[in-house]
């Protein structure tokens, strides 16, 4: 059974039909990218799955279980974690407070251990743990957002434009880290406008346009697809 299954999802907000009949599946341990141009409905899709934008119809199943009736704040306990577009940090709180908020729903004894793991993944954050998160550079903020998402011990990690607004060298670094996270067997859905980098990291990809999936294939075929090349790879 797939870990995540989205069937015929429709999402409208402010009178705009942003997602119209979207289908996506993710198997355990897969890293899949969702690419598409600005306004294709990628972020809305993630927001709907994570419960912060209500959806009108369709089904979202986690291990076959419909999550529609689960209140948004409890979805994190189902193993869902989102690194939101624009990072969504608590800017006045310190780096460590931000990271610890990721573990807000947990009550187990291993939170401290996971915090150490995050710091070993991002040594820069350890240096800056007492600093307000809003004063960090864009790349460091993205690290906090990633680290915070990991602190909830997700089974399903959604990344919304993690490279947005970052310097090229930082983009590289962030994608390296995503690769590291993926190698631990985490299931990841990566939304990116930077289609080339995203697809090179993933095994499969979906191409989204006007609220629908228009293409679904292995990453290598998508990278070779003339239509994709012309529209999203700038070739």
């Amino acid at each position: 059974m797939s870990l995540l299954e989205v069937k015929d999802l429709h999402v409208s907000y402010d009178g705009i039909k942003a997602v119209r009949g979207l289908d996506i599946t993710l198997a355990e341990g897969e890293i899949v990218s969702l690419v598409g141009s600005n306004g294709a409905g990628k972020s809305t899709t993630l927001r709907a799955i994570c419960g912060i934008t209500p959806f009108q119809s369709g089904k979202i199943l986690i291990e076959g279980r419909d999550i529609r009736s689960i209140p948004p704040h409890l979805l994190v306990r189902e193993g869902i974690s989102l690194v939101p577009e624009g990072r969504g940090l608590f800017g006045r709180s310190t780096v460590e407070e931000n990271l610890m908020m990721g573990a807000y729903s947990r009550r187990d004894a291993e939170i401290g251990k996971d915090l150490e793991k995050v710091y070993s993944l991002f040594p820069r954050l350890l240096e800056r743990r007492k600093q307000p998160a809003g004063t960090l550079s864009g790349g460091e903020q993205q690290m906090v957002s990633l680290g915070r998402a990991l602190m909830s011990r997700p089974r399903l990690l959604f990344l919304d434009e993690p490279s947005m607004g970052l310097a090229p060298i930082m983009v590289q670094k962030i994608f390296e880290i995503i690769r590291t996270i993926a190698s631990t067997g985490m299931t990841i859905l990566l939304v990116e406008q930077n289609a080339k980098v995203a697809l090179s990291l993933c095994s499969r990809g979906y191409v989204m346009e006007s609220g629908k999936i228009i293409l679904s294939d292995s990453a290598s075929s998508l990278l070779a697809n003339p239509q994709v090349k012309a529209a999203y790879l700038g070739q």
Binding site: C50, G51, I52, P71, P72, H73, L74, L75, V76, R77, S81, L82, P84, G86, G88, L89, F90, G91, R92, S93, E97, M100, M101, G102, Y104, S105, P132, G134, T135, L136, S137, G138, Q141, R148, S152, G165
Partner: protein, 307 residues
């Protein structure tokens, strides 16, 4: 010098009360960007409920301080309930409305509370019976009454508890997260609606205590006593930087001291043309100055977030 010290003491006492009320404004503003203009009237409800219980118990022979404590014990939950219902009924339906709508609603709630209070408790000034020891202690040439000490100590303890709650507890973490980014807080597992309810109830509990203090201090309570007090506490919150807790405490104290000093010296300064009855002018003079020269308040400097 004696006047100075005495006015300083009076100012700190008055300021402690302002701080307690200002915290209610600032907590709610911090979490939902709303200036709850009905907050001053919750203070009035606190005073009225305290008085009602005190009158019921006046013939019982219980010691005075215990009677006051019973009044407070009733006023706190009553005000918390008022705050909870106010948010639930008046503000929650407007959560996603333009900001002007909840603001006007807050003014409406304020009028409603005053009128309901007038129906229940009447238009007359109610007197607060002499239940607390009235003696005063000399202090460096000034005098401090028992009730003044009680007010300063009581608000100090309440503010310390609130600080610990917000800084050290799970609920405090949730409140701080929700005030910075409600949506992301939800993703982390915070139930933002209940955090908002709790915030209203916390602010209202402080208001109840302030209501008891203010009516015991001045010896009277009245259905519209919350209006001016609320405006002044709001001024204190803006002075300190609205949304900032330490700012509310500092702003309250400062405003209290400024007012007392103004009242103490205005007569001398204007050669008797204006007396201490102009005391209320100072709060709003301060508000205007802050809004012109430092709209973000004394401690209201926010950490900029890089895009």
């Amino acid at each position: 010098m004696e006047i100075f010290l005495q006015q300083l003491v009076n100012g700190i006492v008055l300021g402690s009360i302002y701080s307690l009320v200002a915290l209610g404004y600032t907590l709610v503003y911090g979490i939902m960007g709303l200036i709850n203009f009905a907050h001053g009237d919750v203070v009035m409800i606190g005073a009225m409920v305290t008085l009602t219980v005190i009158r019921l118990l006046s013939g019982s022979g219980l010691p005075g301080p215990l009677v006051v404590l019973c009044g407070l014990g009733a006023a706190i939950p009553f005000c918390m309930m008022t705050g909870y219902l106010m948010e639930r009924i008046a503000y929650r339906p407007l959560r996603n409305a333009p900001r002007l709508a909840p603001l006007i609603t807050a003014i409406g709630v304020s009028i409603l509370l005053q009128n309901v209070a007038m129906l229940i408790w009447g238009r007359e000034y109610l007197s607060f019976p002499q239940l607390l020891p009235a003696h005063a202690f000399p202090f460096l040439g000034a005098s401090i009454s028992f009730i003044q000490i009680l007010i300063v100590a009581g608000s100090g303890i309440m503010m310390a508890c609130l600080s610990i709650l917000i800084r050290k507890t799970r609920l405090g973490n949730a409140m701080r997260a929700a005030s910075q980014n409600a949506e992301v807080a939800t993703l982390m597992g915070v139930e933002v609606n209940s955090v908002i309810s709790i915030t209203f109830m916390l602010g209202s509990a402080l208001a109840a205590v302030a209501g008891m203090m203010v009516s015991a201090y001045y010896g009277i309570a009245h259905y519209d006593m919350g209006f001016l007090l609320g405006l002044k506490a709001f001024t204190a919150a803006v002075l300190g930087g609205i949304g900032n807790m330490e700012g509310a405490m500092l702003g309250g104290l400062l405003l209290g001291i400024i007012e007392s000093m103004g009242a103490g010296y205005l007569g001398t300064l204007t050669n008797g043309a204006m007396g201490s009855n102009y005391q209320d002018v100072f709060a709003f003079f301060v508000l205007i100055l802050v809004l012109i020269f430092r709209p973000s308040g004394l401690l209201g400097e926010r950490v900029g977030e890089r895009p």
